[in-house]
Amino acid sequence: MSTNLNAFVVADPNKCIGCKVCEVACSVAHTDKEFVTAGMIDTPLIAKLYLVKTLAVTMPVQCRQCENAPCAQVCPVAAITQINDRIVIDETDCIGCKTCLMVCPFGAIDIVPVYRDGEMVSQSTLKVKTAEGFVEKERVVASKCDLCAGRSTSPACVTACPEKALEMIVPKQEKKQRNVDAAVNLLNYVKKFVE
């Protein structure tokens, strides 16, 4: 069994100013075109992390890449699996049943429409009854942070944040660093006490 824990991105609520650049960067990183200007974007921005604003706190929330991922446990079509060090949704298999959305403790999963080449993808069979008759229904899939799989650098949100409020946490490194910090702090405390 692998002893590596999945990495995840988390925001520092003390630094986040709520500008939503992380959401923009995330959306852009996950489209099939290379967007650099606002004018090039021809589909809605669909981010895989969500800025939360309450009276008490402002920060984006995203997938924690849970080791015992509840979303994967409940997926009726086994569309959610662990690939390398991340929890991944296979959008082709996803049936949009929303069960994963219900069980995620962080609300890190949303059900989103699929766009290809600037056009919303429709379903071939399921139709919607409207005043104009039956029309095609858009295809929707579960969507969540995939740590920018395939990107050679750090996740787009981490790079884009002007306040450096987002950080990729690698649990083992984090734990070791915290141990080192604790030891140094203790040493300083003892020194002060002795002096």
Binding site: V21, E34, T37, A38, G39, P44, D110, P162
Partner: protein, 468 residues
Amino acid sequence: MDEDIVRMTTADVARIIHIDQELCTGCQRCVAICPVDAIKGQKGQPQTICQERCVACGQCVQICSAYASIFDEDIAPREQKIAERGLLSSVKEPLFASYNCGDALKVKAALADSQLFTMVQCAPAVRVAIAEEFGLPWGSLVPGKIAAALRKLGCNRVYDTNFAADLTIMEEGSELIQRVTAGGTLPMFTSCCPAWVKYVEQTYPELIPHLSSCKSPQQMAGAIFKTYGTKVDRVEAERVFSISVMPCTCKKFECGRPEMDDSGYRDVDVVITTRELAQLIKDAEIDFLHLPEEEFDKPLGTYTGAASLFGVSGGVMEAALRTSYKLITRESIPEISIRSVRGGAGIRKASVKVGNWTLKVVVVSGLKNAKTVMEQIKAGKADFQFMEVMCCPAGCVSGGGQPKVLLPSDRPGAYVGRAANTYAHDENLRIRESHNNPDVQKLYKFFLGEPLGHESHHLLHTQYTSRK
């Protein structure tokens, strides 16, 4: 055609920049970037703009990243926001909290009106930026495609602001020499940037006499379109509809200034930004990337390398120096690329030897940097004769109406690319000094007479208003 429908009115220009109260998250990055402290509000709450202080530079529009998400359920529908913002209904891009009111609908209506004779001008910074909206790399230089696209959109004459930039240099260079030799107010300030001009009017009205009396190239072009241009094209001035494409949101304010009607009509009828032109091209389903290159129309589309430099910080200075040198010494400047006025620093000082004397100049980029120099001038400590100020951080290439760079990390590279290709454009043009523009020479010979002459003064110069 009903004038109120299409032409700019004073009511249009009173409020150009807005913050959508439903979308603003109160991150205050716009507050930090605003050069005149016009944006106010509590942290975490929607911000508001003080319209009197706002210089409409649109830097807040460029930096804002709070957008309308399809998951926001308690906000007004997209169609309603599109209408409020004056956008074409075909616009697909995301809507951000900070925005400028658009005028592409007015241009579309004018182009569809067969009674109107449309003359369009395109600013220098547009040609190094618009292609980004179609997926080309930062700063791609596409004057030929712009000319072709404007023609395809139905503009009767595809003229160019660059022609008027050369004209501005003739007037402004002559004015500088006159002030230096005959004892006028010095240092003289450039007056091409409308946000800078409004800033002087509202913050330092006592220094208004330092501003050059020259209109900006946009307004000079407009005044020439409806006078000389009507003779060239044998068309009645009242039928001429004057459109300008600008990298700048404040140009909308400038064109609506009450005094800008020296041609006997509104000199410029409507201003659209680089972004708005891209939207019009997409709306008309023109395949911009595959357009064969075309020329701007002559004579009011002929331009030199000096004119193209107006798009970058230090460019007006460099263009003016090339011509001032010639006017004073009767010889061409030995080193035509004046690198000492280029660069990215907020305040740059340089000395240029012109014949037997030395002209001292200052270039300011970014309106935030102007205050230090203005206070020195007020205190009588100015040791220079000419100052260029551009409101936007890298000059017009970084203007509020330029393609919106999505990620902060991309912004420096975008501006560097746009500036580099502006300089490349200058270097690759056969004529690089404004006074050598053959069609500007003809304009003086057959219509204006001479720089600072009676007709020039009437059409190309203006006065300013204290707003304190």
